[in-house]
C-alpha cells in the first residue's frame, strides 16, 4: 500500500464529519498552538534575560554567591607542602598567624600545586611594611604586644635580624636607649648584650666608626671591656 493512500485513509478516519466537529477540532488545535507558543516564548525569554527569572527559589542566587572564585587559600593547604615552615612557625610567638597574612593571597600558588616555583608563581617576600603594620607602637594595641618606634629602632631590613617564622630565636634585646647620637650597633648590641650569632649580620656601617675601632664588623670580642652603653 502506498504511503499517500495510507495517509488519505488515516485522514478519512480522523477528519471531522460535521460542522460542529470541525469547529471543535479547530478550537483544540488553535488553543494548543497558542499555549505551546506561549510556553516556548516565556522559556526563551527567561533563558535570554535573567531579569525574567520568575522563580522564587533563592537557592539560585545563593549558589551564584557560592560559586565566586577565591583569592585566598587556607593555611592548611600551604602546610601540605610547606611542613618545615609550619613547624618553625608554630614553635614561636608567630604561631597562629596565617601564611597569607604576610605573603598575601596565594590561591594561584596553591592551585599550581607541585608545579609552583619561583619562576611560575612567585610568593612575595614580606617587606618591612608588613612587619611595621603590626609592630609599630600605636595607642590601642593590647598591652604585652611587641611594639617598636621605627625611628628609634635599627631598621634597614627587618629580616636581617628577625626570622619571621621562628620570630623569637634571633630577637635582639629590647632597645633601652634612643638612637640619637649613638652608633647603630648599639641598637642590637645594647646594654643587655646580644650573643646569638646571626648569619645574616650586615657589614659594619661606616657610621659605626666608634664601635669598629675595637670591634671589626661582624666579629669582635665577645666580652665587653667597657661599661654598658646607656643613654643619659
Amino acid at each position: 500500500m502506498k504511503t499517500s493512500s495510507r495517509l488519505r485513509r488515516f485522514w478519512d478516519s480522523v477528519r471531522p464529519r460535521t460542522r460542529r466537529g470541525t469547529f471543535l477540532a479547530a478550537f483544540v488545535i488553535a488553543g494548543g498552538a497558542v499555549v505551546l507558543s506561549g510556553v516556548l516564548f516565556a522559556g526563551a525569554a527567561m533563558a535570554w534575560n535573567p531579569y525574567l527569572d520568575f522563580s522564587l527559589n533563592r537557592d539560585t542566587n545563593a549558589k551564584q554567591w557560592a560559586a565566586l572564585e577565591l583569592s585566598f587559600t587556607s593555611s592548611a593547604t600551604c602546610r601540605e607542602c610547606h611542613e618545615t615552615e609550619h613547624a618553625r612557625l608554630t614553635s614561636a610567638t608567630h604561631d597562629g598567624i596565617g601564611c597569607q597574612s604576610c605573603h598575601g593571597a596565594l590561591i594561584e600558588h596553591a592551585e599550581a600545586g607541585a608545579k609552583a616555583d619561583a619562576a611560575t608563581v612567585a610568593v612575595a617576600v614580606p617587606t618591612n611594611e608588613v612587619c611595621i603594620r603590626c609592630h609599630t607602637a600605636a595607642k590601642g594595641r593590647p598591652a604585652g604586644f611587641r611594639q617598636i618606634v621605627p625611628s628609634q629602632h635599627y631598621v634597614s631590613s627587618c629580616l636581617e635580624c628577625h626570622d619571621p617564622h621562628t620570630g623569637i630565636a634571633n630577637r635582639p634585646p629590647v632597645v633601652l636607649h634612643p638612637l640619637v647620637d649613638l652608633p647603630p650597633c648599639l641598637t642590637c648590641h645594647g646594654p643587655e648584650g646580644f650573643k646569638a650569632r646571626n648569619q645574616r649580620h650586615p657589614e659594619g656601617s661606616k657610621d659605626d666608626a666608634k664601635c669598629i675601632e675595637c670591634h671589626a664588623a661582624g666579629r669582635g670580642p665577645a666580652e665587653r671591656d667597657h661599661d654598658p652603653a646607656v643613654s643619659e
Partner: protein, 309 residues
C-alpha cells in the same frame, strides 16, 4: 437509604428520580453521538497518536538536554559545592576586641577577596579605634577604614593631645542579624536570609534604592559605584559582607579570619555543639554590640567594647 426521617419523626416516601433531564443544559448522550463520532478515531489511530506524542516528548527532552535553554543557570555552583547543605549550619562570628592589634590586614584581604571597590568609603569590613580619654570622652577614628593600619595617636577630631585612659580596636562587619532591618525594608525582596543565617543580596532583583543602606543601624551596607570592581559584577546594587559565602560553602574560613594574625576574628558553626565556636560562645559568652537595637546580631564581641557605655 430507602426512607428519610423528618424532624418530627414521620417517614417520607422516597421520590422517584426524575427520568426527564432536570437541567436543560444537559444534552442526552444519544444526541451527542454524531459530534463524538465526528471527532472519534479508530483504536489504531488513537494508539498512533499516543506514540507520536510520546515520541515528541522524548525528542523534546533530548533537545532540552542538548540545548539547556530551560536550565536555571549553567554556571551556578552545583559542581563546585555539591556537598554544602546550608540547612545544617548556623554560622556565628566572634570578634575579640582585646586581641585586635589594628593592623588592618582583614580590611585589605576582604577587598581583595571580594573585589570591593578601592575607595575607603566602600567597604564590607573596617576597623575602628575607640579611644577613651581621661575626661570620659569616647573618640572613634578609622582612617581609610583601617586598611593601612593605624597611626600612633587617634586621628579623631578633638582627641589630639588628650591623655588616654583606654584604647582598643574594634573590627566591624555586617552583623548578619537574626531580626534584620535590611531584609524588612527591601521593597523588592532582593536581600534575603539563607538557611545558614547569612544575609545576601540578589543583584538581579536589587533596584539600588538604598533603603537597606540607611536602614542598617550598623552602617554595614553601601551601594556599589560604577567601576571595574564590583563584588557581584553589578554596579548600582547594594552590597555587604557575605561572610565570604563562596569560602564558607567550600569549608574555608572567611578571608578576614584567614589573615587575622592574632585570632581576633573567629568564625564557626554554632549549630554543632562540639565545634570550637559553640564552645567559645558557651564558655566566654560574647555579647552583641548595641543589643538595644533589637536586631539580634550573629556577630558577637569579646573584650573592652562589651563594657563600653
Amino acid at each position: 437509604m430507602s426512607t428519610q426521617q423528618t424532624p418530627d419523626g414521620t417517614s417520607v416516601e422516597p421520590q422517584p428520580v426524575a427520568a426527564a433531564p432536570a437541567d436543560a443544559n444537559l444534552v442526552p448522550l444519544v444526541e451527542l453521538a454524531p459530534a463524538i463520532s465526528a471527532v472519534s478515531v479508530s483504536r489504531r489511530a488513537f494508539l498512533g497518536f499516543g506514540l507520536a506524542i510520546t515520541g515528541g516528548l522524548v525528542g523534546a527532552a533530548a533537545l532540552g538536554t542538548l540545548f539547556p535553554v530551560f536550565a536555571e543557570d549553567a554556571s551556578a555552583a552545583a559542581p563546585i559545592v555539591p556537598t554544602y547543605d546550608p540547612s545544617t549550619k548556623q554560622w556565628a562570628f566572634v570578634v575579640d576586641t582585646a586581641a585586635c592589634i589594628g593592623c588592618g590586614l582583614c580590611v585589605a584581604a576582604c577587598k581583595e577577596e571580594n573585589h570591593v571597590p578601592e575607595e575607603p568609603e566602600y567597604t564590607r569590613t573596617w576597623v575602628e579605634r575607640h579611644t577613651v580619654t581621661t575626661d570620659g570622652e569616647l573618640y572613634v577614628d578609622s582612617p581609610d577604614g583601617g586598611i593601612n593600619g593605624f597611626p600612633p595617636e587617634s586621628t579623631a577630631p578633638g582627641a589630639a593631645g588628650k591623655p588616654v585612659e583606654d584604647a582598643y580596636f574594634m573590627p566591624r562587619l555586617c552583623m548578619q542579624c537574626v531580626n534584620s532591618p535590611c531584609t524588612a525594608v527591601c521593597p523588592v525582596g532582593a536581600t534575603y536570609k539563607t538557611e545558614d543565617g547569612v544575609i545576601l543580596v540578589d543583584a538581579r532583583r536589587c533596584i539600588g534604592c538604598g533603603y537597606c543602606v540607611v536602614a542598617c543601624p550598623y552602617g554595614a551596607r553601601y551601594l556599589v559605584p560604577a567601576g571595574e570592581l564590583s563584588p557581584s559584577d553589578t554596579p548600582g546594587v547594594a552590597d555587604k559582607c557575605t561572610w565570604c559565602y563562596h569560602r564558607i560553602s567550600r569549608g574555608q574560613q572567611p578571608a578576614c579570619v584567614e589573615v587575622c594574625p592574632v585570632g581576633a576574628r573567629k568564625f564557626g558553626d554554632a549549630a554543632d555543639p562540639t565545634s570550637e565556636m559553640a564552645v567559645l560562645i558557651a564558655e566566654q559568652q560574647p555579647q552583641p554590640y548595641r543589643p538595644e537595637y533589637g536586631t539580634e546580631p550573629r556577630v558577637l564581641y569579646l573584650g573592652p567594647v562589651t563594657t563600653e557605655a
